[in-house]
Subunit: 634 residues, 2 copies
Amino acid sequence: MEKFIVTFLPINKSVSVLKDSTILSAAISADIFIASPCGGDGVCGRCKVVVKKGNVVMQSTGLLSDEEKNKGLCLACLSLVQSDLVVEIPQESAIDFEKVDSLELKKVYTDVEEIEPPEINAKEQALPISSLTEKIYLELPPPDLDDKVSDLERLLRQARLPANTNLTIIRSLSSLVRDADWKVTVTLVKQAEKADIINLEPGDTSKDNFGLSFDIGTTTLSGQLINLNTKKVLGTKVTYNKQASFGSDVITRIIYAREPDGLEKLHRLVVESMNQMIQELIHEHKVNLNDVTAVLCAGNTTMIHLLLRIDPTHIRKEPYVPTVNFLPIMRAHEAGIKINPHGVLFCVSGVASYVGGDITAGVLSCGIYKEKDLSVLIDIGTNGEIVLGNEEFLIACAASAGPAFEGSGVSCGMRATRGAVQKVTLDKDFNIVYSTIAQAKAKGICGSGYIDLISQMLMMGALDKDGKIKPIKHKRIRETDLGREFIVVFKEDTDSSSDIVINDVDIENLKRAKAAIYSATSSLIRHMGLDFSQVNKIFIAGGFGTSLDMDSAISIGLLPDLDRNKFIFVGNSSLAGARQMILSEDARKTADQIAHKMTYFELSVDAGYMDEYMAALFFPHTDLNKFPSVSGNL
Amino acid sequence: MEKFIVTFLPINKSVSVLKDSTILSAAISADIFIASPCGGDGVCGRCKVVVKKGNVVMQSTGLLSDEEKNKGLCLACLSLVQSDLVVEIPQESAIDFEKVDSLELKKVYTDVEEIEPPEINAKEQALPISSLTEKIYLELPPPDLDDKVSDLERLLRQARLPANTNLTIIRSLSSLVRDADWKVTVTLVKQAEKADIINLEPGDTSKDNFGLSFDIGTTTLSGQLINLNTKKVLGTKVTYNKQASFGSDVITRIIYAREPDGLEKLHRLVVESMNQMIQELIHEHKVNLNDVTAVLCAGNTTMIHLLLRIDPTHIRKEPYVPTVNFLPIMRAHEAGIKINPHGVLFCVSGVASYVGGDITAGVLSCGIYKEKDLSVLIDIGTNGEIVLGNEEFLIACAASAGPAFEGSGVSCGMRATRGAVQKVTLDKDFNIVYSTIAQAKAKGICGSGYIDLISQMLMMGALDKDGKIKPIKHKRIRETDLGREFIVVFKEDTDSSSDIVINDVDIENLKRAKAAIYSATSSLIRHMGLDFSQVNKIFIAGGFGTSLDMDSAISIGLLPDLDRNKFIFVGNSSLAGARQMILSEDARKTADQIAHKMTYFELSVDAGYMDEYMAALFFPHTDLNKFPSVSGNL
């Protein structure tokens, strides 16, 4: 078949593709990331590119204005290559994979760290191993004629452990112990009731044992480097999940995984990002890669399948069954993760196709599994998950909220890092006071900033109940092709090349996200024959900011209108749970029990859910009686 | 450095080597096997070759007669290459690696099979798995909206097993179970209290599960193909261990393993032989290699180290410590053994550097660990091992006997296969009646034939007490360069190109072998403060024939002069034990207990052993009072 060369600007990268390939697939082949939250289905209109040279056939779409068409703009997913092309990717369509940057979010994680580690009524530990991996320094008595046990039995005897080992270690054993003058360090991982020796090193390296815990989100990856001896977190990184270029939610990723090499590509993208984070963390904290012996990952079920290159197809096919919820401890290299070549990988057990190990870890870290009173955990992510329960029961549901609260898929959104507008107040004249993370110049708006902003715009009359910016004549409000937009920070005050704005489409995205979360929560509570007033604590988790203004979140209808003291913001509870689990055998056992105990409630088969969702597509809600403390302010 | 081409005849194979290489090392590089029982130390004089063309420098030796030197004979290990060479390997120096041949030894193994499988007072089995690997056919209920457990949990639930698995299987799981319409077969291996799923196949393959048990001897490899469902032995093969070209005993092998690539080469030789046996067995019995899922090996400690490519150096260095006695279950491919790629390898636990898993397996199969009365197991191999004990205790020692009773290192020796002279009677006129294995034309003499022959020659006056052939004028007796020889079968009655003979050197080798075995046995019994009269049963094991004439063995002083009913010939007890172990979890547990329970007695530090040995270097013994039933016949 005929082939053509497609050259992408401004990076000037070329790729050869078959006639009738889409520009989007050409970009993917060239490892170029074009925003396409819908996964290339031609419905989101985000993958705009300019064809500078050559011919394309574009399928018809209502997502481009005539003006855009006249300027040569196409949707990459709908444009079929008919000749050699030169294609320019406008900045707004490029996914900005800036270098994984230092997270200035100490406070988020500090908040989380303040959560009590779970108390577990576990049986007394037979083994003194608590981290996922532990190094033990051993000084072996050299053999003599009165003590002739073999080298391996000598090692195990000194370690006082019933331990498995493997041929690689056995092969190195006799020369290693003798060259090291019988002073060696073993690295152990505990599995069930036995320990596995996974590594053997000469001398005493026991003080150098490090691990990484990850939260692998649909939109955001977070990782922490942890000293497994001191239990100190050395550093934390977040980055966007590069898979986002193949769809903003798990469904579009699962669809893409069916493409030729699709699964491999999605797998590679997440693993490469993790490896990059690992490299930067160990470099910054002067840790030797060989001393990193454990990785523990929390993630939703689809993310874990993709991480491990397990086909996720059946997650989205009725009856929605994942390949696996409970994974064994593996070797990190089996998943392509680069730490010590003998290092291990453990993934937190999940509950169901749409309630994964990230929620198990979240329940562990916020502790609702041991609450006497009824509690709720709301994890606001691209897939929003809600858990209801206490020490007696746990039930969870999931709702697709989209990535808006993570700052993705909204025009000036960004994740909660340096320069993100995180708090906003507005007066009646639309004068704005805002704060940014790390007090840096504003670069964009993170989730908590959007929640404040919409709340304030509602209260100050800039928005109608439906979320449309009112046609008020004001320097901050202007008309565009995408409807009205509201200027939050003028260009001159930003660290950006244009004004920081919020527009009608953004607000629509945020409204759908908040409606999904709120209606899922209320449906779950109703399903159990309860109402909000019976809930004692509501833990709010998510990576949308360093804190959350509960009044704002309630006034936009994201959270129910309850006593503000019932709300506890816990930040990234998945990452906090993952950290507890890499450090504690008890935490790992408890997480396993949580995953076994939690039941899954499928919202899509719930008769009332769609009605609840439709009713929540207003600010704060169709039924203002549900928001008594808010209605007076509107 | 200068290099020369060495060409070996009659096989006409050439190799390029550095100047001053030995001819033996040149042959090794060319994968040509020259007999060198001493491991190339220039002391055995067996590696005779003829230099037909070119120059060598030969280090001086008393091992060649002037006549031999005049004929151009050299010792390959002492001759240094100085130019391109053409070297002929005489038949007597070539190790005859004929194609692994069908063993006509059904009777040996039938004898062994008659031993009762061990009765074990084991706790009730939690898992219904008894073979080392077991296949279980599962029909899974397909998932529906009321039963949404993941594919893996569904599989484990149906298998009713707490089982580990691995990422390879998990990756294949979702498509495999659906393509197979939820009908699959899992292959399990039990480890400690858990089972591991090592393989997953579509459909019902549970009836096709096969394993191999091996006895890996210093001189001889024996292997059996076993149907793990029916517990039937399908076929048995024996072959010489090709490592013999690097020394006839474990010490010379260990020394060779220190050479560059030495360990790798020894490892490869045994694994290739095993793979060849496996190929021939599955071909003959129409078994698919993928259905072979388990290999279980019994072998002495050095052989197991070499099989697994574990450095054996310290086995022969004081204080004589092996790297490992108790090995984990491994994957067969880790050792290079070619069965199903997911198949497992287990090696029987050993006791000490010179008492290995072959003896553990032998004790298991002959059952002395559960005898009420004092019993002895004598395993007559290249390394002779003796175990003394009962249900209360087990103590073992080892003595280097050499390979003579296995038909190696003696002029017309052969292993106990078709055509081996296995029984001999002689009258006063030296008329011989003999029988061969499978009633084939005589090709050589196996161990039991030698024992009969020496016994008869002693009784009929052809040998003196020292083992020298008497200078009698008889057509069967003639002088040669190597001393006198006695013609057992004249060439015209043989399937050989020359007379089948026994000579003074052969008898000396056999005498040293029998003296080592007898004195080790008596030293062990004396060490325990016992004497032979207190021993109730003596199990005789070894691959030297299809049966053993106890009168002959006693009359040459190999075995003590006790009531003949106390002796039980058990053939290859290691192979029998290995077979029991591949079929029975109880047998594996018992073997482990045996290896833990057995203590090792180091003969070399025993004050009386050398005296006992010297006293036994006569037929039957210096002290005829020890052999009352024999002395009358001499």
